[in-house]
Symmetry: C2
Amino acid sequence: MKSLREREIIRLLTKQFVGQLGVPLGFDDDVSAIPFSSKTWIILKTDMLVASTDVPPGMTIQEAARKAVVATVSDFGAKGVQPKALIVSLGIPAPAKKRTVQDLARGLGQAVREYGCKIIGGDTSKADDLVIGIAGVGFADPDRLVLRDGAQVGDVVAVTGPFGKSAAGLRILMSREKSDIARYPSLVNAALRPKARLSEGIILAKSGGVTSSIDSSDGLALSLHQLAKSSRKNITVHTIPVPAEVRTFAKQHRLSSIRLALYGGEEYELVITITPKKFPDLKKRVPSLRRIGIVEKGHGEVVAHFRGKWIRVKEQGWEHFR
Amino acid sequence: MKSLREREIIRLLTKQFVGQLGVPLGFDDDVSAIPFSSKTWIILKTDMLVASTDVPPGMTIQEAARKAVVATVSDFGAKGVQPKALIVSLGIPAPAKKRTVQDLARGLGQAVREYGCKIIGGDTSKADDLVIGIAGVGFADPDRLVLRDGAQVGDVVAVTGPFGKSAAGLRILMSREKSDIARYPSLVNAALRPKARLSEGIILAKSGGVTSSIDSSDGLALSLHQLAKSSRKNITVHTIPVPAEVRTFAKQHRLSSIRLALYGGEEYELVITITPKKFPDLKKRVPSLRRIGIVEKGHGEVVAHFRGKWIRVKEQGWEHFR
């Protein structure tokens, strides 16, 4: 039987549940929502980190636990919602060691302090592989919630920071190349200790100028495609911010730094569209914001136009099922 | 290093998070809560089903998915809270087959129809082992929420149904003994298609007569110990309802049917304490309710007094980490 890619699985599940029941958001956006009143929606997100898939060599258990929280917090950031409380489901290989549990607790504790939320409960199971499931809850004014489908023709396409560091860092960790680990500490650090753009996302959503938003954990290319498809518009990318270390690393290994930035994944920047006249003000309030392109009329295509050359941006990213 | 049992892990995490932050409920009760207003708490529960640990031979993927929902719904039932929405985190071994995803969707769909809730989103990951994480959300009036610590001296200890069927059924499935599978269909069915006592739990909580409650998924003995400890009272058990098939099965295999009922686990009955004068009325409204003992003065001991003999009820149950 044919094997499915992650997005096909999501589509199959969406068909079964979300469409049928008519609830807002769902499998198809960064978070899910339960309308609680006309002023308040309860916002939910779960994310599951599986050690064999999501934890590269060299990442400690403490870092893995922190990253599991970052992944969930990042989705809240994309929607401009402060996560209030988290519950943690741990699958721990037997025999469970005190040290492992303490490291998990330390990593989780560190992350909740960074992002101002609380862990209010959880459960543990025995598992063959370390599994860290995080469910987050927050509250949102439905009128302020930034979805994926609001991009308008003429909007600025922007990102909250540069791309490619985490993708390069992951490659270095996977290769276990000691000289690279020593040479590119900031790339390795980006992979081991990613940061969620929570405060930026909240500022951006409050501004009222953001028309659509997604986090880039599946890669920049896929994130752009998802915004374009959900909003039924085209996106043209003119530039992608790639840090100098990523370019140096790419050159050394004969890789394309643009490909690392577009298809790398595991990065937690936000990819957003902004009403053009609001962009200068938002750039002041979120200095890391970079303009990368423009929203155009269309039906969900994404192209790049770099130094006079058109490049197709493939609908491809960091997917687990490949 | 010493390996930890599930409760020690919970204790370690509780120390780190819940005590420190002063939030109600937490790792130590069936669900977690976020106070939203004086009249409304948001109730959360996650549960993770891991195929290698929680899925016995002979259980289909559809049944496993349904059971994952039942486990979460059961905790809501114990607190008398209707779960409104679920989010699903799936860890699926690669290559993910369409059939697997459809079976998962069917099992999840069946369960949410049974218990009147909705699946509103989720995510998928690649995993070595099939993992089904369920996060449920509901709303509760904090004054009506039944915790574990309210048992009073003189209260009736009651259960919502008989014990031992699921424990016997699991043994039959684990043994792969075809003659037993054919001979004891109701025991096998109890293990494959457990039921959560949601409607019963809601009726009981609404009555105002229930002083403490827990679901029995970790086993009857452990559930009684948890109520006794949380409430700082003793519990004396006078009888345990054990169905005739369980007694027949136990006799055939030279097992103690009382031990199966006390320490079996994976059963989803509710174990509750009830103000004595309310018991007759509640028994009418929840006919499966059975009186099994009484709450007495003390500091968390549980003993059984069967046919003139005192039996120690060990603080032992269906734990994953053993």
